[in-house]
Symmetry: C3
Subunit: 455 residues, 3 copies
């Protein structure tokens, strides 16, 4: 404990008071605004003539649970790779996401399901709130280990609002398609976090360099996160799409894309690795890029081949990004990206948006038949040409990058407030500053320091 | 191995013989009594005119699988926090739950689905059996590390019977509502285990004190349990409710409640922690209390705000219980509660029962409309007023506490039989007495003992 | 790193080039042959008059996701028990399965869903591909730690073809029933791997003996695999069966069988263990044999008692196999079976096939009613007697054993090609040869070597 100085009472009280304040505020807003929707309200559901089997619950709840696993187990454990930041990774994921679910229920509710003065909630609002939490956790990945929980909650407070606004502009005003969130979740979350990390740049971060790596078992814990993300990504992309062939095709395309990103990740990782060795960082992250890159287009008639090709590209670019781009981002652009979210979410997200532009632009009545109404209603109704839809999709990407950049900049300024409890440079990537850590950990830590001294 | 003395042949044979005996007995009872129900029998299902889509399987099996994950992964890994009892935690969970599933299929079957001389089984009996196993595992949590597998199986043998009886009294005789089991599962399991632990009180337990804590990686394994419990709790509470809006609303309320208990847990943990540090014990456990406290009321018209408020209260009380009440329970009341089940299941379970009293008492025809029939059939049919239902709910809590206390006392007397293979005080919380443990563990153990000597 | 010699450039390039070649080849074949089926194609689905709720997605996707968890988390982590091969276990599982999914989509597609010159894909092809990947991973278990990733990919290339051919002969030509794959998956995968391991026999493998065991935390990681396999096995066996009572009954039977194999595993493990101690190897593996043994018969009218009895037998035989047969297999038959797949998949698979023979032979119109058409269509239509069906089932087992043996032999010859990058005897069960391993691992390794020297 010698290494971690005591914090002042003012700093120690920030987390409890902020949690209580945020919870109090959302509770009041829930009391005023949030009501059961037709599918969750006893009186409303039983009014009218329909079968219980028609309840949206049976079409979307299994997908919701898969998404829920991704948010809490997937993101949480993926970040446990850091040798001394496992509690912070999985614990702050838990805290951040729990708050984001409440807060985004309100924000997204105002934008998407506000009716008669009330926000109406059901399984779709649960899925949407989890999606928004996903974006917050992507941003968290960029600043992992370099920020305290109070800073993280404030980031979520801001980011959820901007996420909701950006999503509203894209889905409701521009009417672009982005079921799996290549733009709204991955691009937005990544660039928000990267700009924020840039503003929080720590020139002295090498003081904590020895804690930035993994240890053997922390890499295995991280693989729990990776594998659950990989498995359930088909459910993620398909959770909010049109029912029937829409959900079915989206899941299938995502499944194929992920198998291809896995193969290209292994290929590239061995190709660029020292002595042909595979790198766990690539396997843990780049293999997932296939899910990101089809986030926009998986619900479209991408074709199985298209899914494979997209996934292959995503895994390859992501792996090369970890190997060659991340060091440059830090040294040249002063962006310290702990988890490499630029490689897993940033570049594949932008590519996914562009792939969506391409596939939307190729949409024809012949390929979609009467299903065109579900995927591209404006084209089906003759209000837009496929080309026009493609242009709108492209514009959606620019809007997203703008919201993310401005938001990340604002977030960075907010998180730099000197009053906020932030870890010193020498205590980054270290659980002890925010967590009671059982004794063995210190012993192991001492042990590895001794070893480093010897080496 | 030096530290663990050899057991006599009589003790060594207890576990194999008891397993064989119990398995033989349940197999015979299955042969005599258990039959496929209308939904699982080839002939019965195909007799009559209905669609395969109507089969209960499609409405309940996804929820069942979520519950199944909670029982085996959730409870199993949650208890792995102990540094030298990981095999026992996850292994005995596995054994106990596997037996409890068979045994409770019989016991609950006699009480709930006995027809024409046969117990009829399908997905609902699977869910109910898993629920009963949950109660057994809650009791296991109170005595974790202080009992051998033979004692645990005998406890399950008794507890399953009393669980079934208590459940029958509540659900069938008193006709109270308790879908997620605030009373039948959490209150019953917790107080059964606590009384049992009281009867098994070990005054010399400090001999094993050094093994009662966690190590860094054991805390991360425990978080696997926590997170899977947290994620799937909405499925747990909604698995047995009425279809349609009932399942949907129950899942939604539970989801909100859990987000609030997470925030209050982090707030209180940091508030009462040394130097403002968060405690993994609180995060692993108290954050789940939001699922327990809405176990009775989540299927009712609790309102989203009500769910948040209940969850907040549960997380706060549970965290404070871990900090202040658990030490007093041990020192004053001689209840040694290894996992703190009083904080996670006991108090939140009782509060959940009381919340059920309140929400049932507030039920109106206006709020539930025609859905009142699904939630409170007796009120809908005019046989009971809401107040009367509330009184019945309250009486159900007292019945549960009575069954749990008497059962726990009987269980304790049974488990104190001197013939039973029980770990000595100096070998509690230690895998080596019941498990082949690979070499490294001894080395680590030696290492930490040396360290303790040095300190 | 001193211990792992550098590989030549030719060897280092094998993995990247093979991955790229395989991915390129499958992508081209996908482009030429693979198309959306009626349920995933926008135009085809919306042509005609049916409800979105009728889409196969809602009947099979939740089961598919459970199977998907089993393949990647279940198999992947089950093999992490080796102390220094965690990256290889979970990483090569990931790579192998990702390739097998693509390749078996093509192979199985040619055999089972080839129509109008195209392979038509949807959720059923996803389930089937995952099943085939399961067989490949079973074979992987036999040679775990003794082969490089290039060898493994070549094995998958061959095995998927033979799997598809064997499955085609059984299901389409012989018209035997084998929903959960006692024959097509478990028997085939196990004996393919065992014969292959025999051909790859390494007389000097004791050089790596000290790495063949587990350490404390690797055993806990392995239990993650075990428990997820155990939980979701009911979904595995029921994923491809007839809808309605078929899926429902299959899941129920598997659930009961697994509870019984768990009890018999604990009983036998304690009975044969030193000083009555339980062995993690048994619990991790033999407890799962209940899922294997009902792979053929779970969809039939096995009865709940039949499921218990079968599971009990499987757990017992599997445990005894680990204790007594595995050492003999290695010393007498020169079959080095790293994970003991003969005990978990081989013997229980053959027993499962024979149980299928028995239960099929006992099928009557009375027991199945109009459901006979779903389970045994040829008997229902009068084209076969129950006895004839039983004989066909038995013949299916012999076909499977033949395909597996010949295939495993061919596979072994292929993998012995001297050009292939294979680990030397002294580097088996060791991650460092194929993976960048973080520093702590080397320290631990040194530590345990020192300890061994001292001992």
């Amino acid at each position: 404990m010698a290494g971690s100085p005591r914090r002042s009472a003012g700093r120690r009280l920030q987390l409890p008071l902020l949690c209580l304040l945020l919870q109090g505020a959302t509770a009041i807003l829930f009391a005023v605004f949030v009501r059961y929707n037709r599918e969750t309200d006893a009186a409303l559901w039983h009014w009218g003539n329909h079968s219980d089997a028609d309840n949206e619950f049976y079409f979307r709840y299994p997908s919701f649970q898969d998404v829920h696993v991704m948010i809490f187990v997937g993101f949480g454990f993926l970040m446990v790779f850091l040798q001394r930041y496992g509690f912070g990774s999985v614990g702050f994921t838990f805290l951040l996401a729990a708050f984001a679910l409440q807060w985004s229920t309100l924000i997204q509710g105002f934008f998407h399901s506000f009716s008669g003065g009330y926000i109406l909630v059901g399984v779709e609002s649960m899925i949407n709130a989890d999606f928004c939490a996903g974006a917050v956790l992507i941003s968290f990945g960029a600043i992992l280990g370099k920020t305290g929980p109070v800073q993280l909650l404030l980031m979520a407070l801001l980011e959820v609002v901007l996420f909701g606004l950006n999503e509203f502009v894209l889905l409701s005003l521009l009417e672009v398609k982005d079921a799996g969130g290549s733009m709204t979740i991955h691009t937005f979350g990544a660039y928000f976090g990267l700009i924020l990390s840039r503003v929080l740049y720590r020139p002295q971060l090498e003081k904590s360099k020895h804690r930035q790596g993994s240890v053997y078992h922390s890499d295995l814990f991280a693989m729990i996160g990776t594998i659950f993300l990989w498995i359930f990504w088909p459910s993620f992309n398909s959770a909010p799409t049109a029912l029937g062939d829409g959900q079915h095709r989206t899941a299938l395309n995502t499944y194929y894309s992920l198998t291809a990103s896995t193969l290209s990740t292994f290929a590239l990782s061995a190709l660029v690795g020292g002595d042909g060795r595979l790198d766990m960082v690539h396997v843990q992250n780049a293999a997932l890029a296939g899910g990101v890159i089809v986030g926009t287009s998986a619900e479209m008639m991408l074709t199985p081949f298209g899914a494979l090709a997209a996934g292959f590209l995503a895994g390859a670019i992501s792996t090369l990004g970890y190997k060659f781009l991340t060091p440059i981002l830090e040294s040249k652009l002063k962006v310290q990206d702990t988890c490499g979210v630029h490689n897993l979410h940033g570049m594949p997200g932008v590519l996914g948006a562009l792939l969506g532009v391409l596939v939307a632009g190729l949409a024809t009545h012949e390929a979609y038949g009467d299903g065109l109404e579900s995927v591209f209603p404006l084209i089906a109704e003759g209000q837009r040409s496929a080309t026009s839809q493609a242009v709108h999709q492209l514009f959606g990407l620019f809007v997203t990058l703008t919201f993310a950049s401005v938001g990340g900049g604002l977030g960075g300024l907010l998180l730099r407030l000197p009053i906020l409890d932030s870890p010193p440079d020498a205590q980054c990537y270290e659980d002890q500053i925010y967590w009671e850590v059982p004794g063995e950990h210190e012993l192991l830590a001492q042990g590895s320091e001794e070893t480093e001294t010897q080496a």
